[in-house]
Amino acid sequence: MLTYALRRILIAVPTLFGITLVSFFMITLAPGDPASMQADQIQDTRMSIRVYEQLREYYGLDQPLPVRYWEWLKRLVTLDFGQSMTPDSRKVTAKIAERLPATLSLALLSLVLGFALAIPIGILSGARRNGWFDTLSSTVLYALYAIPSYVMAIPLILWFSIKWDLLPFQGMRSDHFEQLSPLAQAGDLASHFILITFCFTYGALAYQSRFVRQNLLEVFQQDYIVTARAKGVSESTVVLKHAFRNTLIPLVTLFGLSLPQILGGSVILEVMFNWPGIGRLFFESILQRDYPTIMALSFITAVLVLLGTLLADLAYGLVDPRVRYE
């Protein structure tokens, strides 16, 4: 196991290096920089050129690219992403840390909710293949899966928030949040979560439950299931005890691989729901051409994706020794 893990981690090192290259050069090689954007706001041309030169020096944009890359890399090791290039010059780490809870809580909630629903649905439809529940759930889930999340979000907002005025859809908390009692605060927070969490979760549900069902059907083909049935074990024990436990292995990988979809798909939904998360921060930084924040966010998400696949592979190797010998 140790050699397998080591080999797998060593393979990830050049990928990590590649990620730093792409995050840095994709953004710095592009035309137009934050200095020129801020200087353009000044009407007087001569003034604006002088401000531009000063801003370039201030942000270190006058240095040659390899030097800037090296400097960026050196700070990266200490998880320092520098200062943001917007007029407020805040630290990028602080900016991201402030937005992280909103996205992380959403991602975790939708992952847990997704699996909590997908596993029973998958087991029920796999246990009675082509039964009425199987047909119904696969039809409904396929229809849901086909509806893109932001296309679903707008009619939901229209009906639940505007026509029936049941749920809020702007931000994470109401304006009068501070004055509420702790219990009412929790309720307020929960009501803000409902719509956006639903939009985040339903799309993956079809895929996840199909995955559980598929694996269950594959396990049913195994000899030990036939043996269990032959010795007269009840059907529910066969499904839950003998079959389902072995479908958990591929589920581990699915968990790791679901991460990028949730992180990447969040920009539009977060902007739509005015959610104070990472996706909206990315969008805002792009509008302001804030180099350090864009680079930091691209780098962090890419590393998270890399970690997700790495963890999935390692977990797979841990629970299924056959993988290691491939």
């Binding site: 590649g18 792409v22 707008i154 920009v267 509008l287 966010l297 890399l306």
Partner: protein, 355 residues
Amino acid sequence: MSELSQTQSPDRVLGRSIGRMAWERFRKNPRGMVGLCFILLMLALAFFSPLLANRQPIICKYQGAWYFPGVVDVIHNIPFASLVILKSPPFSRATFNAAQDLSPEEFAIWPLVPYGPKETSGRTLAPPCREHWLGTDQNGRDVLARMIYGCIVSIQVGIISMGIATLIGVILGAVAGFWGGWIDILISRFIEIVQCFPTFFLILAILAWLEPSIVNVMVVIGLTSWTSIARYTRGEFIRLLGQEYVLATRALGCHPERIMFKHILPNAIAPVLVTVTFGIAAAILSEAGLSWLGFGVQQPDPSWGNILRDAYDHLRSAPHLVYPPCIAIFLAVLSYNLVGDALRDAIDPRISRET
């Protein structure tokens, strides 16, 4: 000779090609056919949009002469045709208002929707009515006309961005799979690195530095969504390299490029085609999302994404604006996915439909 034909499959004896066999299987799949029909409908809507929604008539008589302004608009949908066939005055003048200037007695065939996609009127945010079947937006533009012209963007995005992605993906995948060794390692690493970035992040990060325009959006979507195509092509190439007929072409001394593109690629293209079909659905979705965010098609040009944005901005005052773009995006994405599913089943009959 008789011995040979016995070993061949009955399909070969009948002289049916793989493509034809796949099409016959595809045709039996009702869901795939529904998807295909909707895609063809979208194509027709996009191409004939000037005949369906236009501020000028299709055919009319004006001051004693015959004019075909709508027909000329359709011809202009063909690339470069606008250089050869020009619109004749007075219809070519932007200030010419056909609805007012043509006398009602004279002969004219008007399109179903007598408004252009950018034509404003005083009636803003009107609900659906007889004159405006889907209502009007905040500038008094006819939503149905904008929806019809929005088709053009969705069709173009699918073709152009996936064309670029396929070109990059197939070349990289073919080179990696065929040559193997350090070239393969290098390309595979590169694919892995690009795949670590969520596609939408990549697209946004690149678009941020470009002028917001639909051409840029299409190119950037193409430049960022080739990874799965490359992976599939590589896998197919590695699989086919082991086949005897490839060995035979090598023994015959074929040029490597010839083996790659003439002998292996045609056999590898089928599974890649499935990926491309799903890619088109994703590209349409990305474009609509980008236009919604303000990076894609710019006002006043219509796209389903920016129609959806108008709807989002006027949810309270004009809820009827929401449904047309939502339904259109949903149906477009769904039909490409259905075609992709059906194509996969048709190409590889070994994968049974219900497993």
